[in-house]
Amino acid sequence: MENLLKVKELKTSFQTLRGEVTAVDGVSFEVKKGEILGIVGESGCGKSVTSQSIMRLYNEKELVKYEGEVLLEGNNLLKLSEKEMRSVRGNDIAMIFQDALSSLNPVFTIGNQIVEAIRLHEKISKKEAKKRAVELLRLTGIPIPEKRVDAYPHELSGGMRQRAMIALALSCQPKLLIADEPTTALDVTIQAQIMDLIVELNQKMGMGIMLITHDLGVVAHTCQRVIVMYLGQIVEEGMVDEIFKNPSHPYTKGLIKSVPTTNTDVSRKLYTIKGVVPLLSEAGEGCRFCNRCEMATEKCRTSKPHLYSMKNEGHRVRCFLYEKGGDCHEAK
């Protein structure tokens, strides 16, 4: 399949009181056309910063620095002017956020907001745009869309709001949809409905989707490929089946082990990865995971591991355990 988005050595750093902090450190990956790519990791591991860097949502005048390349169909987004970037946002790449209530403006109706999103990129009349908005709402499974189009965000339920948010994101038929924890704020049944909707739309409209989540169940259910992130770096990358059947990085293993299943022995404590994600500014010389890793050796503390390719194609792991397992080479 063709590459839709290719991120090369993306580095996002923020100027803080403690000095420069690199929230995303040399991340490279690609999203193929029509593919759903999952990005998983704990809070604070740089998932959201990665997606916001792709859209360049941080204002560059305000102490943010981007390095590397973000190629959308070969076009480097990091080189575009702010004005050119505006026509990419919403048009080529759209985003849905975690909490739909706070990501819809409370003073405008759903319809108004969708109409505005459409008219930002296309020169059509308000009437036509509103017709489109109704269609979009119908597409996302909102009952009686003709009526809901005039509702304010607070008048809708959580699931309905998320559907409206998705309709808003789809308004200009983006090539890439970034879904930043789209189901975290919803309850389980609605979660499943929304995920099914996203998969269905992915098949219908053929856009690439970047699904950011910390819910491994959602990933297993919907994604084709997965990226596991830790402290601003990719620690493991591969096909979903591969990652779940044969997790290789100690962090991925830990993540999968700490999910309770129906077979989990309830008399024993659930597995947890010890410790917490350290502050970015405190990341040491060696492997970023070494303080919490059960397999850490002296080498892990002093030198940085690269992404090593495993025997299956596309499966790569950033851990010295696999240094000799595959061809040792730096990820391109």
């Binding site: 305000e62 505006r86 946002r89 956020f97 706070s102 819809l104 907001q113 930002l120 808003l168």
Partner: protein
């Protein structure tokens, strides 16, 4: 269905306001005075500038409800025109300072670089006492109604800027602003299309306050001779002219004074009521 529910929301709000007797009384009196002021050219029995030296300092009677002043002008007519002018000054000051303040406040709240510049200027302006500032500006530019309005708008704009900027800063961090940025909106659209409607309600409350205090300051400035120039009547300069004859002709002080007091009280009570209605926390 939705419409009727909304209607009833407002209906209950108005109903609860109606229960407040104090509010009703003051709102009623203010409204009467304000309407009388607005309709001054129609209602006023005499020309407020017409001097009749024969009838100077007449006590209130049938022809001259509020009596006459030292030049024999009808005080009732002058008070009506004075209220009219005071209202005009209040409204214009409130509108201009709000318009300027909201724009600068939003920009300060959205752009950190502008924030530093705009807020330092605001802070510098607000360290100078209101009257001193207004008198200085009027002395610089000369006494006229237009200059009174402009200088008071400058005095009050920092108030609106501070309020707007505070709200704008918290709104800027909301996800829906990020979401509309992610949809490809330009900064002007974000600031004026999406942030403005969210800051408007606290600013309206501020506006009523500015309206009321601008009228009071105008009266004070006119009283001091730095406000509305004579012979144009304003509540302040009517009181000023009455100063010398205060012990012999009480009506020259009492009527314009009462008018001023009731307007002030009424607007403040109304402002509180508007805040109660608009502020979701107090409901």
């Amino acid at each position: 269905m939705k419409k009727s529910r909304k209607h009833s929301d407002r209906y209950f709000m108005v109903k609860s306001l109606m229960k407040n007797k104090l509010l009703l009384i003051f709102a009623g009196i203010t409204l009467i005075i304000a309407i009388a002021g607005i309709l001054a050219p129609v209602i006023a029995p005499c020309d407020p500038y017409l001097e009749e030296p024969v009838n100077r300092l007449m006590a209130p009677c049938k022809e001259h409800l509020f009596g006459t002043d030292i030049y024999g002008r009808d005080v009732f007519s002058r008070v009506l025109y004075g209220v009219r002018l005071s209202l005009l000054v209040g409204v214009m000051t409130a509108l201009i300072s709000t318009a300027v303040g909201i724009i600068l406040g939003l920009l300060a709240g959205y752009f950190r670089i502008m924030d530093a510049v705009i807020m330092r200027i605001c802070e510098a302006l607000s360290t100078i006492p209101v009257y001193l500032m207004a008198i200085t500006l009027i002395t610089l530019w000369g006494v006229s109604t237009k200059n009174v309005i402009i200088s008071m708008a400058i005095v009050y704009a920092p108030l609106v800027i501070t309020v707007t900027r505070g709200v704008a800063m918290s709104i800027r961090e909301q996800t829906y602003i990020e979401a509309i940025r992610a949809a490809g909106a330009s900064w002007s659209r974000i600031v004026f299309g999406h942030m403005l409607p969210n800051v408007i309600s606290p600013v309206i409350v501020q506006m009523t306050y500015i309206f009321a205090s601008a009228m009071l300051v105008e009266a004070a400035l006119s009283f001091l001779g730095a406000g509305i120039p004579l012979p144009e009547p304003s509540l302040g300069n009517i009181l000023n002219e009455a100063r010398n004859v205060i012990f012999s002709s009480w009506w020259l002080v009492v009527f314009p004074g009462l008018c001023l007091i009731f307007i002030m009280l009424g607007i403040n009570v109304l402002g509180d009521a508007i805040r109660d209605v608009l502020d979701p926390l107090s409901n």
